[in-house]
């Protein structure tokens, strides 16, 4: 985004998003489907907290667009949700970088809820029936695995010197 800074490791970011997109459409047994965390959103949140000058609203929007294409949802539905949470994460990143991981997880819970609300809200507007309560289960699961995402991606970031 900012041309003058040295950028490296864009490849690692891209690959992490690709893996996230694969995890989104990976078939799961029926009972586990409602617990599938929003992998792409989590990965997006990590990168936008770690490298706010490189990954932000634009990347979030693109990632959401690809997720829409993969899932067959309306084009722009997840794009809107992810752009919004990337924006919020950028707003909060100064504070979030200083707090321990479990406190970050609480904020992540809030952000995932926002994203899910946007998606369901759009579904509601186009006349899809309201989701049942299980549909919300993915949010706490996502927040619960945030520490895992955080440490894995931090490892990746250091290993590949993503700046």
């Amino acid at each position: 985004m900012t041309g003058h800074q040295p950028r490296s490791g864009g490849f690692a970011i891209l690959v992490s998003f690709l893996i996230g997109l694969m995890l989104i459409i990976l078939p799961l047994p029926g009972w586990a489907q409602d617990f599938r965390p929003e992998w792409v959103a989590l990965i997006l949140l990590y990168w936008s907290l770690a490298l706010p000058e490189r990954v932000g609203v634009g990347v979030g929007w693109l990632a959401g667009l690809f997720q829409d294409a993969l899932l067959g949802t309306l084009l722009g539905q997840h794009a809107l949700a992810f752009a919004l949470i990337a924006f919020l994460a950028l707003r909060l990143h100064q504070h979030l970088r200083l707090v321990p991981v479990w406190q970050q997880a609480i904020v992540v819970l809030g952000l995932l809820t926002v994203a899910q609300l946007v998606v369901f809200w759009v579904n509601g507007i186009i006349g899809r029936p309201a989701p049942d309560w299980q549909a919300w289960a993915a949010i706490p699961v996502g927040a619960a695995i945030w520490p895992l995402i955080f440490f894995i991606l931090r490892g990746v970031r250091r290993r590949f010197r993503v700046q």
Binding site: P27, R36, F66, G72, G76
Partner: protein, 283 residues
């Protein structure tokens, strides 16, 4: 600000995608970009299947072969009668002055083992516009109608199942040609019949076939079997549930209907000499 800009773009995109279907080229482009992701996720499953076929034991194969040959013989004999009946039917129709082609050509396609939006009933198949799939194309499995093609990418397509809450299919009762519309319920085992009067002649076990109205689905294919008819005194309409004939959540091999009146509008549209319902007077 970028967020505002992108949010506007998203809302615009969603509106266009939902209302106008104007963004089909855009969707096709994005779909071809993400196709590799789909392919990679699907690959282990299809490879495992193929390897399974390879290492199947010899006697298993022989046995399976024998069973299939027996079944084919059985079908063949039924088909002979069927052909005679079809010709007779055609003759009768000619006498009645209505023309209708009964045979349909199908292309076999496979479900991709990937999961889509959990809140809708859609599946992905491995045939796209490159292989001739088009929006609205009917999709069958061995037992009945599965759904219709909803979105097309170059190498894959999305199929909306008849059980999707936003899907409706015109049907008729096989026994007495009573017409109705079967709506998806969001449950793969259940369809609902809309606006059937309480006094209509419909009972449990009735077979519902596609009525061909609307021109999307070919007439005569089984859609569902009525499982429950609930009539409440004072209610103008009966509450009727039906179980889809197709194995919506299990079938892996599907068929795309190529011929029949369900062709995309265009110069190659079937030259119906005295077509009874739509696209009349083309030739």
């Amino acid at each position: 600000m970028r967020l505002v800009l992108l949010a506007t773009v998203s809302i615009l995109l969603m509106t266009l995608d939902h209302r106008e279907h104007l963004v089909a080229p855009a969707r096709e482009a994005v779909s071809s970009v993400v196709y590799p992701v789909r392919f990679v996720v699907d690959a282990p499953f299809s490879i495992a299947e193929r390897v399974g076929e390879r290492i199947a034991l010899r006697h298993q194969l022989i046995e399976e072969n024998r069973a299939l040959r027996d079944r084919q013989l059985e079908y063949q004999s039924r088909l002979q009668r069927m052909e005679a009946l079809e010709q007779e039917n055609q003759r009768l129709r000619e006498l009645l002055g209505s023309s209708e082609r009964l045979e349909t050509d199908v292309a076999i396609t496979q479900l991709m083992r990937i999961e889509l939006d959990p809140h809708t009933h859609i599946v992905e198949i491995d045939r796209g516009s490159n292989a001739g799939a088009f929006v609205g194309q009917p999709v069958l499995d061995a037992r009945g109608i599965m759904g219709q093609v909803d979105k097309v990418g170059p190498r894959s397509a999305t199929v909306r199942l008849i059980s999707d809450p936003s899907h409706a299919i015109p049907v008729e009762v096989n026994r007495n040609s009573l017409r109705a519309v079967a709506l998806g319920s969001g449950d793969p085992q259940r369809l609902e019949l809309a606006n059937v009067p309480s006094n209509a002649d419909i009972e449990e076990g009735d077979l519902l076939t596609a009525s061909g109205l609307g021109g999307t689905f070919p007439r005569g294919y089984p859609v569902a079997t009525v499982t429950e008819v609930e009539v409440e005194a004072g209610e103008p309409f009966a509450r009727i549930s039906a179980e889809p004939a197709a194995a919506l959540d299990r079938s892996r091999k599907l068929m795309l209907v190529i011929s029949e009146q369900a062709q995309p509008p265009g110069p190659e549209a079937e030259a119906g000499t005295d077509a009874d319902d739509e696209d009349g007077g083309q030739s």
